[in-house]
């Protein structure tokens, strides 16, 4: 059968990010996908040697706009481990709350983009409408919608008082009921099921072989969640690891929706348990040493390695983001898929190409 090669990207209407795939097609079926990345590469890790380590925090925050909070938080965690300081408990709980808010907004964003990818624009609009409420909460507490700049080495810069926290929790009830009717469409609607069910199957063995992380891996039945390591205040909070055995796009949708509702619960627990106290301790001097931080981003496990040699600039700062691991799974599930499903499959790994390419 004759093969055609269709170039997909870097500018295409469905994905907000530039990636380029050369899709080798036989009729309508994808046989091979040859990737070509690098459109978003900025060379950020090299900047670590040029900027003061306190100012570099603001560069690290801007690795990605969607996962921005956790990048900043991981950098601060790494620096705090190098300095060997322990931040106050209230700061840990505040960081947890913001982490979960960040996860909420990221998953809702993903749900909307997924709906847009299979053509259901009304669902896209509804998901983002609910997401705006989360962004309003983040703006009320930090001042910025996506890039919050609220982490500092030694704690956090802003506090959330009792009134604000209770106000947030009160809004969750209404949001949960809206979301339940929305997610019912994602999981139960016939047309949506037809697009998602048995599409992009990644078996459990393949998931382990290709190094999938995050919801991609948990939808294939692997029960791992980096939050169980207990950084920030996660050690004090009760939550289950959400998995599914479906191994297809519908399963990934289920896992992420489950994580949305779980995040509401985690925030409720954190708000109930948050202790009083300071929010920041002052850390002076230059760091010397190295640290590795693993954190559960909305997209999966991210690994941060920092090395400092006693000067103002870090010697090395390396990030291995979750999408970087998930790209191999993407290249595994693309062959055999229909051409029309390609945007959907790219979105099902929750790509964050700017994180990957830095």
């Amino acid at each position: 059968m004759k093969r055609t090669i269709v170039p997909f990207g870097p500018q295409h209407p469905v994905l907000p990010e530039p990636i380029h795939l050369d899709l080798v097609l036989e009729d309508e079926k994808v046989v091979e996908a040859i990737p070509s990345f690098g459109f978003v590469h900025r060379g950020m890790e090299d900047l670590a040697s040029k900027r003061d380590f306190n100012d570099y925090l603001y560069v690290v925050e801007r690795i990605c706009g969607i996962c921005s909070y956790m990048h900043g938080m991981s950098y601060c965690e790494g620096a705090e481990r190098i300095f060997g300081v322990e931040i106050p408990d209230r700061a840990k709980y505040l960081r947890t709350i913001w982490c979960e808010l960040s996860r909420l907004h990221s998953h809702l964003l993903w749900l909307g983009l997924l709906a847009d990818a299979f053509g259901f624009e009304a669902l896209f609009m509804q998901s983002w409408r609910i997401r705006e409420k989360i962004l309003d909460m983040v703006e009320d507490s930090t001042g910025g919608r996506l890039i919050s700049s609220v982490n500092l080495i030694g704690g956090v810069a802003r506090d959330m008082d009792r009134e604000m926290l209770d106000g947030f929790v009160k809004q969750f009830d209404k949001m949960e009921s809206e979301l339940r009717s929305l997610t019912k469409v994602f999981l139960k609607d016939t047309t949506v099921r037809a697009r998602l069910f048995e599409v992009g199957v990644l078996t459990k063995t393949d998931a382990i072989l290709y190094g999938a992380v995050g919801p991609m891996m948990r939808a294939s039945g692997i029960e791992l969640d980096t939050r169980k390591l207990g950084y920030a205040a996660y050690g004090d909070i009760d939550f289950d690891i959400i998995t599914s055995n479906g191994c297809d796009s519908l399963a990934r949708c289920e896992v992420r929706i489950g994580e949305i509702f779980q995040s509401f619960n985690i925030i409720r627990q954190a708000v109930a348990k948050i202790p009083d106290g300071e929010i920041c301790i002052s850390v002076k001097g230059n760091p010397k040493g190295e640290a590795t931080v693993r954190m559960e981003q909305p997209r999966g496990e991210a690994l941060y390695y920092m090395k400092a040699n006693g000067t103002r600039n870090l010697e090395r700062f390396r990030v291995r983001t979750p999408t970087f691991s998930n790209i191999y799974s993407l290249l595994k599930i693309l062959p055999g898929a229909q051409f029309a499903d390609v945007p959907l499959l790219i979105l099902t790994i929750d790509p964050c190409i700017s994180c990957t390419e830095r």
Binding site: D52, D55, V59, S141
Partner: protein, 420 residues
Amino acid sequence: MAGIFKFTKFALRNLFTKPATRAYPSVPARQTPRTRGAVQVNIDDCIFCGLCNRRCPADAISVDRAAKSWSIKRMSCVQCGNCVLNCPKKCLTMEGAYSAPACEKRSELFRKKESPIPAVHTLAPAPTDGKAIAPDRVLVIDMTSCVLCGLCARRCPTGALSVDRKAGIWTVDRAACLQCGNCVNGCPKKSLALVPENGHPQVETYTRSAAPATSEKTETPITAQPKGEIGITVDLSTCILCGLCVRRCPTSAIAVDRKAGTWSINRQSCVVCGNCLDVCHKHSLSKTTEGIDTSGIQVYAKTVELKAEATSAAPAAKSEPVVEATPVETAPQLPAPAPSSEASATDAPVGNGIAIDMDTCVLCGLCVKKCPTSAITVDRAAKSWSIDREGCVLCGSCITACPKKSLSEAEIPLLKTYTK
């Protein structure tokens, strides 16, 4: 059947709830107390330390200490808040302001307003010993001694005074007057005083009487009248052309050209206030009635050589015109001389002058700042300290200012440059 009415609930709800849209240009944008906006500076508190410049990850802020200005490139600021966090004076804020889109990249400049007190230096600082600031007193003037030089108007921080020399009028706006006493202390004729209030009007104008009141003082100035015979003259044998009189002259009547060796005075502008006499360290200036030509500018040229306390090999040092502020002189590089050093190897004259101990000198430059005649220059890169012996008036300000006590006045070979 049940399937048909399932959607009715949603349809009715959508009909009767208001839309979720915020109609942005018609309604204002959502602002919270913490919303990050454009960085604003309270320029009056700013000390121009430049920390915000160094901390900005996007290099959007620039600070010019000399010009006292702070500017920010609006299209480069990422609103991270690092500058706000690090400002030692807490004069930066980020909440609430909006940076609008524009068709070109722009920066905004904020400059500290200059203090209205003019840069007329006095040797003695104006005492503000509390007695000058007295709200129950008012400013009055004795027009018989006033020469309408205008120094008081220039020293007034609020602009409450105005002097019209042509019309012979001196005006005070007592509502603006702070009773600070700056004018009283600065008046060369001591015509001003702060007296207890006694029904003085808020704005008062004093006029010089046509005939000056006779007084025992012989230095009654005559500005409104045709200039008489009296005027300022200079004794160039002692004058060192330092230029202090130029700086003190309130009417900028004097000009000094060091290269050409001339001192000139514009008789039309000179009000014979005597400020220059007060400031001259060499007492070269005096008031005289002889040889005064009041029609225009009179130039006195030095024909006599500059001061040279003669030693064996004087000529090399003498006739060189004094060059300002070049640290690399033609003088040879010499080690720091001790008062009784082997400087006879050079041909520098020995005399009373400022001596420096280069071992303790740290080249901080404080002596440069304090020297009233700008005779000293310090070159940190070349590690040299130079002094213009002709310009030095031996006032001793540098000796007092030196934190390392490296300077002293002694009988030494008068070298010009010393290096570490």
